[in-house]
Amino acid sequence: NSPSGDTGDAGGTLRVVLAQEPPTLEPCEASLTATGVVVRSNISEPLLERDPGSGELRPLLATAWRQTAPNTWTFDLRGGVTFHNGQPFTAQDAAFSIDRAVNSDLQCNVDGYVFDDDEELGLEVTGDTGLTVHTGAPDPILPLRLSFVEMVPRTTSTTAKVREPIGTGPYAIESWETGVAITLRRNERYWGEPPAFPRARYVFRSEPSVRAAMITRGEADLATTLNPEDATEDNSVAYPNNETTALRLDGREAPLDDIRVRKAIGLAVDREGIVGTLLAGLAEPAAQLVPDGVVGFNATLRAAPYDPEAARALIREAAADGVPVDRKITLIARNTQFPRVAETAEALQYELAQVGLNVQIQMADTAAHLEYQLRPFPVDAGPVALLIMHGNQAGDAAFTTSQYLRAGGPQSTFGTPELDARITEAGALSGPARQDAFAAIFAEQNESVAQYVHLAHMRGLLGRSRAVRYEPDSATGDELRLAAVRPAAGEAR
């Protein structure tokens, strides 16, 4: 007689609870976490995908691809695939989808995030299954970039975003009751292995403890981002989510313009304490902006030790040189960016105060936080230490460095010409050379730039009831593949 609640009955329906309702299900916005978690690989699919474990690219709607010229890539598409509306999937659709996402004026999130904004791709269709893509400049990672473009039928509007998209994925949209739930139904004509659950239903709860309660109570099977204090072995599972937290120091403003002060901050932070206590062990101290698995990760870098004495010494030294170390530094963090973000900010504030810095916390909402995160930065903000969380979904350090480390990078406050040069250089390389070049860049930032004080490589907590089997991976936060969820052994569904 257990009340069924919002998530519908358990039999045959996979019940998922999300932290927020997706604003849209538009496939070209799938790189937004809130949208992608429903859309990607469930409703629509890209040509290929990156294996979150190995970092290798795997075929999806394309069976093979190769670089046929420096500026040209060719893809062989899978045949016999149909959209939810019964239309067959052809190279025409693929070309249309790429064109729609990258070249149109829809202002999709992929456009610009994985592609440069002004980049125009030339698309050429050969038969039903052949697609050739021409790029302006040689692009060694074009397939990786294209793994963010979801395939939609030609009939999709190019002028407006769609609310209930049609795709080729294992599930199709059945209904979307605004504010209440999104229901998906199994695509019986799916080309791949059919998913186990005939239905899936997403509901939205922004309070983490309620999400946890729903799992515990058996009202939901999966729940995104739980808080560590609500997590038990029975209701959740941890997974590395590719996110890295760091303090970005605005090196244009005194006293943060002095590298000794920046380095002192690095030494003042008790990463072990923060990771062990605040983040409940669901993280690892970080020494760079990308986690292991991303091309360019430098395995030799070690996080700075917790050494308040050394930090104090550095600050004294700077003060002696006339650096105004007691100027107020604003520590800006974003509400609900990650569990216990407020506490983390408080810990940082306290630890920095301990070494003699004057730090004030300001919690901001996403919009306000973005004002500080993105160029052009607010004027007259004074010295800002911004608590950021960076997730490199693409698996290549190029995305990180161009954004965060270049002197003029959109999310970077300053840099050095040498570093900029090395970033440009590394971007053109491929293979082990690329890996080494980026690894060296991360080492260099820590050594001579120190714009970032890295905190931790984060891990997420996925709420998972005992009724289902599902192993989250580093992509789970962005795409929750329902097809990979199976009923727990012994449970007949």
């Binding site: 923060i274 206590t277 509400n335 810990a347 004030q360």
Partner: protein, 307 residues
């Protein structure tokens, strides 16, 4: 008052009246304690409210960790006791000025509007309507994002948002009282509007306004806490009870003391304030004061004959 007749004991002293109401005594003592804590507490606790010790995170209340460990620690290993004490000051310094500001502004405007009537009344009431139908959260977000979430700004928002409540109450009272004969009488002595309001309207409207204010005192604390719930309240490392409840809510299952204790502090303070306000209401009303002066034994319960 101006004229004192040498007849003692006709008017019971207020502490005698207070003494007659056990609940009011308890409430007064509790409120006094809260006030004392807010004023003197910070001297006693030093930096204990902010001193972190990540190794002492989430200790339950116990006698094992000294005075400051009595009520346990929060996730950053800070003493909950010290934080409660520290928060008392912040909480009161938000709630009291906010309530006072809205009370003073709202009541003054309301009495003025109600006393004069006509256009002035209409304008004041429409202003109240505007504020009332305005989402105060939007105001909060704007002020707090545009002007940074300082205690002063929070006070400002809470005060503005609550002005209509007093304005309406005071206006209703004043509109009713202005047609009373004793107000006319005051006019025949030549008293102008403000002295009349001060002498005749205010004393009668005040108990009602005070009751509203104590209810509001609680409302303000809760709103401040809701702002913290939405992340736009008091900013750490400053701490208020509302912020403690808001932050501690996540730990309700694992570390109840973080959220429950400040919640209890809010409840105790507001309940005490209300009990005291009820007492003030009785004690200042000559027609009701007998309820306090009667010997407790024979205190009749209704107006029916007691024989």
């Amino acid at each position: 008052m101006t004229s004192k007749t040498p007849v003692p004991a006709r008017r019971a002293r207020w502490w005698t009246l207070l003494g007659r109401d056990r609940f009011a005594v308890v409430a007064a003592v509790l409120l006094g304690l809260v006030l004392l804590t807010a004023v003197l507490g910070p001297l006693l606790i030093g930096d204990r409210a902010v001193r972190q010790d990540l190794r002492a995170s989430l200790r339950p209340p116990s006698f094992d960790h000294g005075f400051f460990g009595l009520l346990g620690t929060d996730v950053l290993g800070r003493s909950v006791l010290a934080r409660l004490v520290d928060a008392a000051g912040t909480t009161l310094s938000v709630a009291v000025p906010a309530v006072l500001c809205s009370l003073v502004i709202g009541a003054t405007l309301g009495m003025w509007a109600g006393f004069h009537g006509g256009l002035r009344e209409n304008v004041a009431m429409r202003v109240a309507d505007v504020i009332l139908s305005f989402p105060s959260l939007l105001l909060a977000v704007v002020v707090l994002y545009v002007f940074a979430p300082s205690v002063g700004n929070i006070v400002l928002i809470l005060a503005i948002a609550r002005i209509p409540v007093y304005l309406r109450t005071a206006r209703a009272e004043a509109a009713e009282l202005k047609s009373r004969l004793f107000v006319d009488a005051a006019r025949t002595f030549g008293a102008t509007s403000w002295p009349t309001i001060y002498r005749h309207i205010l004393p009668i409207a005040l108990p009602t306004l005070l009751t509203v204010a104590t209810l509001d005192f609680c409302f303000v604390m809760l709103t401040e806490s809701s702002l913290s719930f939405l992340g736009i309240g008091i900013q750490p490392p400053e701490v208020s009870w509302g912020l403690m409840v808001a932050q501690g809510r996540q730990y309700l299952q694992t570390a109840w003391w973080i959220a429950v204790l400040p919640g209890v502090a809010i409840v105790v303070t507001t309940v005490s304030a209300t009990v005291l306000a009820a007492w003030v209401r009785l004690a200042t009303d000559p027609a009701q004061r007998w309820r306090l002066t009667l010997p407790r034994r024979a205190r009749p319960t209704t107006t029916e004959v007691t024989a």
